[in-house]
């Protein structure tokens, strides 16, 4: 019975997870920008150990959703791209962290109940 409750609550929690942030690279981009004010494309690439194409694709998705802001400029003749987290992105990350902590609490409470029962 407890198992059923656990799985249904986990299903609800997983369903409510923001799919935009749940992907590993996008979660990395948002987390990195939450700690550093602005980071260049190259800085993010080094930090997340990913390829140009992969980072560009995921950053575009976050930019479309309004989670990050892209600032394009020129350094001499070279194009320079910088990213910054928007307030919408900050809220999304905070909400994701809260959901993860909640999932952890639910999983822990079920494990504790099982341990009590087995003892």
């Amino acid at each position: 019975m407890e198992g059923k409750i656990f799985f249904s609550s986990m299903r609800v929690l997983r369903k409510n997870l923001d799919p935009l942030i749940h992907a590993r690279v996008r979660l990395g981009i948002v987390s990195a920008l939450a700690a550093g004010e602005t980071l260049s494309f190259r800085d993010l690439k080094v930090l997340l150990s990913t390829s140009d194409g992969n980072l560009s694709r995921h950053a575009q998705k976050l930019e479309k959703a309004g989670y990050i802001e892209c600032i394009k400029s020129f350094q001499g003749r070279m194009p320079h791209t910088e990213y910054r987290l928007t307030s919408k992105g900050t809220e999304a990350l905070l909400s994701y962290v809260e959901q993860m902590e909640h999932m952890l609490q639910v999983a822990r409470s079920v494990t504790i109940d099982e341990d009590d029962f087995s003892n």
Partner: protein, 202 residues
């Protein structure tokens, strides 16, 4: 007893692990990102100013012992400034210097510094002081390049500039030593420090 619950224990543990792993990933990326930009630009400017002063004072010394003492004092002052400003900026960014990239930076820079110090003593005892400037520039440059791999791109570039200066010093007469050290330890630190302070907030 646990087997009575069928797959429940393993799945709860799995959910727990997944959630913990995601939270750990977020914390790790945030810590790396904060350390990544925790380079003290103003500290670098201060080190550059003291180095420029040291090379000016050293150029007025009449003995080679005097020159080495001046640069030894400068090295102690520069390391003190660097540690103090690094700790200050790391605290501002909310990261610890002794964990993650901060520790990696110090551990990759330290061997070059220790090797440079040992070679300085060896060359000094052998009475070959003409190569000291080249030695310091190359060892500091190499340490900055390797240490800078876990930091913003400008740090390895600074290391490359030091190594280029070291190579140039091989082709210049020893009398140019003071000017070369002033331009590199003074000028490069001030220039790159100003850029970092402007670009990465202090």
């Amino acid at each position: 007893m646990r087997i009575e619950y069928g797959p429940i224990p393993s799945r709860t543990e799995n959910s727990q692990n997944q959630a913990s792993e995601h939270l750990r990933f977020i914390r790790d990326v945030m810590e790396r990102s904060a350390s990544f930009t925790a380079v003290p630009g103003w500290g670098m400017v201060a080190v550059g100013i003291t180095a420029a002063l040291a090379s000016w004072v050293a150029s007025m010394q009449t003995t080679s012992d005097g020159i080495l003492i001046i640069w030894f004092i400068e090295a102690v002052v520069a390391v003190t400034i660097a540690i103090w400003t690094l700790r200050r900026k790391a605290r501002k960014c909310g990261v610890s210097l002794t964990s993650g990239p901060g520790r990696k930076y110090i551990l990759t820079l330290a061997p070059s510094m220790v090797a440079g110090l040992l070679f300085t003593v060896a060359l000094w005892q052998a009475g070959n002081q003409d190569l000291l400037a080249t030695l310091w520039l190359l060892f500091y440059g190499a340490g900055t390049i390797t240490g800078g791999t876990s930091s913003v791109r400008v740090i390895p570039i600074l290391g490359i500039c030091f190594m280029v200066m070291g190579i140039i010093s091989l082709f210049l007469p020893p009398a140019w030593m003071h000017l070369l050290l002033a331009l590199s330890f003074g000028g490069l630190h001030i220039g790159f420090g100003l850029y970092i302070a402007r670009r990465y907030g202090g």
